[in-house]
Amino acid sequence: MNLTVVVLFLLIVAMTLAITYYAAKRTNTANEFYTAGGGLTGWQNGLAISGDYLSAASFLGIAGAIALSGFDGFLFSIGYLVAYLVVLFIVAEPLRNLGKYTLADMINSRFDAKKVRATAALNTITIVIFYMIAQLVGAGALIKLLFGIDYWLAVLIVGVMMTVYVLFGGMTATSWVQIIKAVLLMLGTIIISFLVLSRFHFNIFEMFSTMKTATPLGEAYLNPGVKYKVPLDTLSLMIALVFGTAGLPHILMRFFTVRDAKTARSSVIWATWIVGIFYVMTIFLGFGAAAFVGADVIQASNAAGNMAAPLLAKVLGGDILMSFVSAVAFATILAVVAGLVLSGASAFAHDIYGQIIKKGKASEKEQMLAAKYASLGVSVFSILLALFAQNLNVAFLVSLAFCVAASANLPVIIFTIYWKRFNTAGAMTGMISGLVSALILVAISPSVISPVEGAALFTGNPIFPLTNPALLSVPIGFIGSIIGTLVSSKQDAKRYAEVKVKANTGYREPLS
């Protein structure tokens, strides 16, 4: 660990704690805790969405994947971006118009059933926990590599920081940590991209020509098929990516931080540009690392390629740039896990405690206390899980989280807004069949059972051939919703009229 990295690291810690201090003063009610008072502007929320979304898996993971497997690594970038059209066209505005703090609020705007809310909360919690374990275990390993500290200490540092942000500063602190992280991440990525391009004389054609011979893969590096050799698996992965984003609770929660559907829309547009430009630059990061660091050096440091971007920074800009990139990676991790803690806490404190146990009659003070206890609980539980999961291969948990989001959440979100006939039974069967099918199919997939010892949790032959189950589980979620709806004869046209009007026009305070 050199001095620059320590200084930058402490600078980020100090800056985010200062934000939390100011945010804490403005966080006195449950509304302020969950939505930052609903006063974020479009560009602020757009940056915060980007900060919430671009995880270390995006930054370090994709850079490494492109460095090591060329074109196939870039597939993630495409899926992660196009997914925003689903968010923009189908989900963002109705969600803002119908919901208050959580996804379950939005679904329950149509069904006043406790079981629906409880199941929606369960889905949120499941997704948050999978995503969180993947992030924390990844963070521990990365920080260990970047700063040379022990795994347990690294997990603890990240864990304590995220707890402090959320516990004291709620959504306000979380949003601003995410905004700052997005700015730092874009800055770091632009600097590296510029340096990489300068080595190719700012000529894209020269870059591609060089890459044709620069890696051990030869020409295959630039073509599809290096990493993903099973066609259905590729398709399944792409389905999970494009439909998953619109069902991720920590992303959906961000739409409650703006005042109306119009601002929700403009924040998605901002996010689409920021996230898109970032993902285009992952090409330069990956190519640069492959050409100037080399696959052997990258893999020697971390087999999955996660060190590609920091190592590239070192080659291009020496220790100072590498320290900066490491600090950016640290900020990246913090912003994502803080968003996760907040959405997990909202499911426990607002949905389960506030709405189900207290039937929506909890006082302001009780709501705040519950939110804080829940944040603390989610944090401690995740930290403990991450400490025990150190040696497990948990990288698949991120795509599992996307898959659960796509299979269990998205069908019900879509039907709640757009299908007149949809009812409580359909919402239940949809959410449960999506969740259960995603979980079971992953449990018997090559991600969990692999014939290669140590490659997955168990050794053996997988029963289900695809590593990503979205190809099956997403249709199961939709079909489950449809069957449940049709089996039950219930239908509430009056309630749907209200949902339809509000979802599509917003809700206005009366003029008088």
Partner: protein
């Protein structure tokens, strides 16, 4: 406590007849306009997006060189980026019209309710 009461009132509404609103011609025009834009857009972007993994996994069509040493697979991938930005921008423009129509739905409702009083 007062705040909580106010909020629950707001959630219940102010006596709007939503069933009537759903049947109103203003609202149906809005829904038709939205549908006219959204349904084809969604089909196009999902179609182009899902066609991509199918083309690269099952065929070699995109392995051919487009320009320099850049193959069609890269060109297609980058076009998906451009598509996302273009569609988002078009939606932004279109939705200004939707917003005005939605405003009209509520104004009419307001007016009718006042007349009824």
């Amino acid at each position: 406590m007062g705040k909580t009461v106010q909020k629950s009132n707001r959630m219940k509404g102010n006596g709007e007849d939503f069933e009537k609103m759903v049947r109103s011609s203003q609202f149906n025009e809005l829904m038709a306009a939205k549908k006219k834009f959204l349904v084809p857009s969604i089909i196009i972007f999902l179609g182009l997006y899902l066609l991509f993994p199918i083309l690269i996994s099952y065929t070699n069509a995109l392995d051919k060189i487009a320009i320099g040493d850049i193959s069609w697979a890269w060109v297609y991938a980058l076009l998906l980026f451009v598509m996302t930005w273009v569609m988002a921008t078009i939606y932004m423009k279109k939705s200004a019209v939707f917003d005005r129509m939605a405003e009209k739905v509520w104004k009419d409702e307001e007016l009718e309710r006042r007349e009824a009083k």
